[in-house]
């Protein structure tokens, strides 16, 4: 082939299009940084909208594989969309790089030589939060999360590392619950020392609003995973100030690649800030680049490309990481906090490293050794 074809499946319509857009922006930026060429060949990217529906995502993946005959497929925000699409990619031996979704199956029994992740396994982030709460000496926690797979994974993740007492655990209706006052009242009355929540996207905005308005913010501190990011922060505003979370990437990580990524992103997309979704997509582009360069553009050498990717032979914006046997990163997790930055705007800041070289707990189940 005289060009490198990449399919990019993400959500570009509906309320969560904002995530898809950020992923695409970052991916485009990465291509810019690569001179829009990989190993001298032009890059062609085909973006497909999965509408956040598994069967649509699967169909788009099939289109990319069968009709566009792409060499790589990147993207996937949602676990269920990824799981629905996985078989198509694997059966056709097309490399698939998950730039966000990290269901446990992917790390365990469904791991595949052709599948890599530039994000994490779902449980890793809340595990880091749990660890951090131990470090802070928190004695008890009240857990609140949405009632769907990721929500349950998140709460399970915290519980697996948190050593204090879990005094309560509430699941709310996903995605339609509007009002969290019942749960907040329970949390307040549970006498727990802290509250942990996982509410991605709009629900996170909503939860923080109600948490602050109910006056609980002054009483019980909140710990979060995937609830505050650069997309939700402009809507959460002061409600998010001082609410900690954990992440494998924060915009102010002090490595050179990251500085360049963040600065150029803000230059290219005025008014926007990159997010961890973007960082993962940016890394995905560079991962692809490293593989293609290693085989000198001969995209038929799948084994060689796989071997090269396993080596992580590129500079990630999150700093150095390794791949586990299951192609999930072994990486650091950082504590992030919301502060007012130099420009007086709210932004996320790295406070500390919570865990170093963390590996997911499902890699044993992966048949690849």
């Amino acid at each position: 082939a005289d060009s490198v074809k990449i399919g990019f499946v993400s959500t570009f319509s509906g309320p969560t299009a904002v995530i898809g857009n950020d992923m695409r922006n970052s991916f485009e930026l990465a291509l810019d940084h690569l001179g829009r060429k990989i190993d001298g060949k032009p890059v062609e990217v085909i973006y497909e909208d999965d509408q956040q529906k598994p069967d649509v995502g699967k169909q788009k993946t099939e289109k990319l594989v069968q009709s566009d005959k792409v060499d790589f497929i990147v993207g996937y925000i949602w676990s269920n969309v990824l799981l629905a699409s996985l078989k198509t990619a694997v059966d056709s031996k097309t490399f698939l790089i998950s730039a966000n979704a990290g269901p446990s199956q992917l790390a365990g029994e469904l791991c595949s030589p052709y599948v890599f992740s530039t994000s994490w396994q779902n449980d890793q982030t809340p595990q880091a939060v749990g660890t951090y709460m131990n470090q802070k000496g928190v004695k008890s926690v009240f857990l609140i999360g949405p009632n769907y797979a990721a929500g349950k994974d998140m709460l399970a993740g915290v519980k697996s590392t948190f050593k204090g007492q879990v005094v309560g655990e509430e699941y709310t209706v996903w995605p339609s619950q509007l009002d969290f006052s019942a749960e907040l009242t329970k949390a307040k009355n549970s006498k727990a020392e802290s509250i942990f929540v996982f509410y991605p996207g709009a629900a996170g905005v909503q939860f923080l609003n109600q948490y602050a308005q109910a006056g609980i913010k002054q009483q019980i501190p909140l710990y979060t995973a995937f609830t505050i990011d650069e997309l939700s922060l402009p809507l959460q505003k002061d409600n998010a100030l001082g609410v900690p979370g954990a992440q494998q990437w924060v915009n102010d990580l002090p490595n050179e690649e990251n500085k360049k990524f963040v600065a150029d992103y803000r230059k290219k997309y005025p008014g926007l800030r990159p997010t961890f979704y973007g960082a993962q997509s940016y890394d995905a582009a560079n991962l692809i680049n490293s593989a293609v360069v290693a085989v000198k553009g001969d995209l038929t050498k799948k084994d060689a490309m796989k071997a090269e990717m396993e080596k992580v032979n590129f500079k990630s914006v999150r700093g150095p990481f390794k791949y586990g046997n299951n192609h999930i990163p072994i990486q650091n997790f950082y504590l992030q906090d919301v502060v007012k930055d130099a420009e007086g705007q709210l932004s996320l800041k790295t406070v500390a490293t919570i865990v170093k070289d963390d590996q997911d707990r499902f890699h044993d189940k992966c048949p690849m050794k």
Binding site: G14, P15, A17, V18, N147, E170, D179, V205, Q206, L235
Partner: protein, 305 residues
């Protein structure tokens, strides 16, 4: 005990929140008999308008008023251009047409305001918790929602059930041809009522924006809830919608608050922890199904057509 009272209060205020949502729909669907799926879109537009105008003017009240006017106007335009041709038609035609409007509005909003959503912060005077009885604080803004919802309920009831206009709307909904033959300009009347329904949707949107979110698609799940309320209450009955909203609000809140503990007492730990969330997720639907099986025309059936 204290906890129960507080949860009851939560339930009550959630119920009133739901009524605010359902109010405009009661008017347009319950009384005018027009299935307007785009009600959720008007709700969304209300919130977006409010967020925009509040940011422009810097005043919450002024921005909210402008947003109300804007949704009223939008509703009237929508009715005038398209929807008025669908009154006599099958409900399902209305479903398809207004479904199209949902698609349109979602993408229009994304085009105009971007996919990220907007923030509608509260003015400081509405953020302070108010002491309602000694020792019990309540968010000021939630009190305001309660007041507005009650006012809307009263206004709707008076207008629809106690005035000539209300009679004409109800008459027009059951037999447009005949009301016209009695010398009433039902088209104009319906346009205005539809506009009012839109404004109520907008009102719900802008009132809820500060505690919920301003997001694309924010109206869709809420729309279902509003339909649930109206159906449980009995289509066409404002009193029914009001009671149903409070009923659902309380049951849902109490269910979420106490069901898990209750189940834990009955079932084993593992079974309870999977059953409880599933059950409380279904609660509203379960409630509706039970009510409709027992009372196929809702709790307060309006007179049969």
């Amino acid at each position: 005990m204290y906890l129960v009272v507080e949860q009851l209060l939560n339930g009550l205020q959630f119920g009133l929140l739901l009524f605010l949502l359902a109010a405009g729909l009661t008017l347009v669907f319950g009384i005018m008999d027009f299935v307007n799926l785009a009600h959720g879109s008007l709700y969304m537009m209300g919130a977006y308008f409010a967020a925009t105008f509040v940011a422009w003017t810097g005043s919450f009240v002024l921005g909210a008023l402008m947003a109300l006017g804007a949704t009223l106007l939008l509703g009237i335009v929508l009715e005038y251009v398209a929807l008025r041709h669908l009154y006599g038609r099958d409900h399902l035609d209305q479903v398809l047409a207004t479904f199209g409007l949902i698609l349109f509005f979602n993408d229009a909003v994304r085009l105009i305001w971007g996919p990220a959503g907007l923030a509608l912060p509260l003015p400081a005077w509405l953020t302070v918790p108010v002491q309602i009885i000694p020792g019990v604080y309540y968010p000021a803004y939630r009190l305001m929602i309660i007041v507005v919802a009650l006012a809307v309920a009263a206004m709707l009831y008076l207008v629809v059930m106690r005035t000539r206009i209300g009679m004409l709307i109800r008459a027009g909904a059951s037999n447009r041809e005949m009301i016209g033959a009695l010398g009433i300009n039902i088209k104009l009347l319906f346009t205005l009522v539809f506009g009012l329904g839109a404004a109520l949707a907008g009102l719900a949107g802008l009132m809820q924006a500060p505690i919920l979110t301003v997001q694309i698609g924010m109206g869709e799940n809420i729309l279902i809830l509003a339909f649930v309320i109206i159906v449980i209450g009995g289509i066409g009955s404002i009193r029914g919608a009001f009671m149903a909203a409070i009923f659902v609000g309380i049951i849902d809140t109490m269910g979420r608050a106490f069901l898990p503990d209750l189940l834990r007492k009955v079932l084993s730990g593992a079974a309870a922890s999977t059953a409880a969330p599933a059950l409380s997720s279904m609660l509203i639907y379960l409630l509706m199904a039970i009510i409709l099986v027992l009372r196929p025309e809702g709790l307060f059936p309006a007179a049969k057509r």
